[in-house]
Symmetry: C2
Subunit: 419 residues, 2 copies
Amino acid sequence: MKSVNCMVAQSGGPTAAINASLAGVIQAAAVSGKYQICYGAVNGITGVLSGKYLDLSEIFKETDRLEKLKNTPAMFLGSSRYKLPDAEKEEEPYRVIFEQFQEKNIGAFFLIGGNDSMDTVLKLSDYAGKHGIDIRIIGVPKTIDNDLCCTDHTPGFGSAAKYIAATILDIAHDTFIYSVKSVTIVELMGRDSGWLTAASVLARNSYNDAPHLIYLPEVPFSTEQFLEDVKEQLQVRNNVIVAVSEGIRNDKGVYLSMEQPSADTFGHMQLSGVGKKLEILVKEKLGVKVRSIEVSVLQRCAAHLASETDQREAFEQGQHAVALAAEGKTAVMVAVRRLADQPYRIQYEYEEIGKIANEVKTVPVEWITEHKNDVKAELLAYLSPLIQGEIELSYQNGLPDYMDITHLIRESIPGTQTS
Amino acid sequence: MKSVNCMVAQSGGPTAAINASLAGVIQAAAVSGKYQICYGAVNGITGVLSGKYLDLSEIFKETDRLEKLKNTPAMFLGSSRYKLPDAEKEEEPYRVIFEQFQEKNIGAFFLIGGNDSMDTVLKLSDYAGKHGIDIRIIGVPKTIDNDLCCTDHTPGFGSAAKYIAATILDIAHDTFIYSVKSVTIVELMGRDSGWLTAASVLARNSYNDAPHLIYLPEVPFSTEQFLEDVKEQLQVRNNVIVAVSEGIRNDKGVYLSMEQPSADTFGHMQLSGVGKKLEILVKEKLGVKVRSIEVSVLQRCAAHLASETDQREAFEQGQHAVALAAEGKTAVMVAVRRLADQPYRIQYEYEEIGKIANEVKTVPVEWITEHKNDVKAELLAYLSPLIQGEIELSYQNGLPDYMDITHLIRESIPGTQTS
């Protein structure tokens, strides 16, 4: 009898915890006794289309390599932005994918990713269902944005939240050293949901109440009100720290970053982000010392400050995906249900993929204050458990000792690509 | 007999290690038996001028608080940008300062800071010398820029270098996940010296050779050559990572950030930094996917990734300052002499302050490659020891457990200031 194998891929944007989910799949597949080889498709679904695989069972047969993988940021297998067409319109990619699955005798395919990846899980499982192909297709959630519906929170978010909160606390220490009035604007990721920006609230502690203003994309943003808010803050403190989402929109739903700025107000800033825009606005209108900081990709790839809770749950969700496949489930995504905030307790479940794909979970408006410039205690209670605990990271030569990604770098050398 | 006391202040820009030097002064002053009270002037020399002090001997009588202080970024005592006038032109501040010293019976004054602070040490010790005032005035070096002369390297630089290298490595992992061609430009601090940007070279390891291009302010920058360099790199790899100093200048010595950009080439970017300018240039001229990242203040205040070597040496230089005062030295700065790179060995010395103040130590041009786009092995050998080792940082509620800076925050509330 030909042995049954499984395959896993990663997709979408990087996080500090996505390799922990990969490690969970590899570990659970190995101990399940159900799969002889766990293949890894390189660069997401495009790796399946082009037949580019790694034998993960072989690469990670030593457990210490699996530990190192957990701590490595971004995708060990590489990512992809390829979106599957509708099977009715273009069936060819589906034929290729399922031929590849058949050739490798794949009994289960695990895709670790965010919204777009769950769309792929939906399409592949629909196709398999319609054509009576016997394969389990399971989604493993991942996104720093925390915007996947039907699950309490997503792997990757907790580590990003921890990095953001720690960074805001560091910036507070950096800012309070001068007795000169100043405004510091920190721009955070999250185009359509404010979870990451909301996480800045975690920086507040017994002595620090920064950020003093928090603006999320879930409620309309008014530059006039913003200036009033900052002015008010400057009356009660010298150093004002503001956390703002890249995705804030005006009352017409237009992104501030897209708004055609008037030449007088903004100068010539159409190419800049929200933080820079607000910096110029504050400088011009309030005449105070102001700086903007764009935390940029660091918030998604800084593995040295990963949340242990996040990493552990990411690993366990990878394991749970294998368990679901073993139970015969398909067309589902691993989900987390929170049982309590304090002491924090969760359980792993699953959800039909059809309910999840292409939906966006935003911050509940009732968790935002009436003045739209701060978040409420309920949101803090939700966030706090997710950043708890620190990972044990090995260092070599003064830097984090990550899993070697030579195979990805080789892929990136023109001429050596097989696809 | 009235007891003799000492006083310490912090000045200039923040670092992750400047409080370790403060801790070194406090600890050595306590065990020396020479000083009854170690005062801390709040907000640098302005704290002396306005009589704002903390009793550090009292605050830090418990050793565990001193350990926490070591790990706390930026200045526990606050900073100041106040520059002492020439005593010949304006003697009043000097009279006030030395009256304060006499009133508190200060036998030694320690100022932890960079270039400007060493200018203050020079002026104060000159004044004391001319007026026969019996007080030791000692500089304790500190600057992430590593640009103080007459010492091998400065406390704060090693931690900033470690953060920069780790961040570049994280960005490399983040970047290599896509097989689409891309250029990532990372802008680093250092207006007049390239040490911080050079530290990006430490990110290279057995599998990663990013950053692929490094541009320092010590040699002229040509945008034409830069575009050629990037083009050449894009021929041998898909994902090019560039480290660039905020202080790069053209062959006329004009900062790129100040250069009046032509409307055609740069659009309307006169308000942006170097990274953003180069991003737009690459986009327009090479038409490739490009992103710029400004690491900003995070590189100077991210204490969660401090270098143990840096922190330990910062502490020891604080202790050494007290030892120098005990030996009767004045008008000097603590200095480090390197005895060997590998195994790394140093010894603490001192240098006459007159040789140091207002001098800038830049990266030796012979440590930069002929093509002006990379650094040589000698520079790597110099840098590597400085980022070794990790600090033991306590966490509370998922975030670094820093020393409370309530007193600084209170200072920053309008109406409560005493100055």
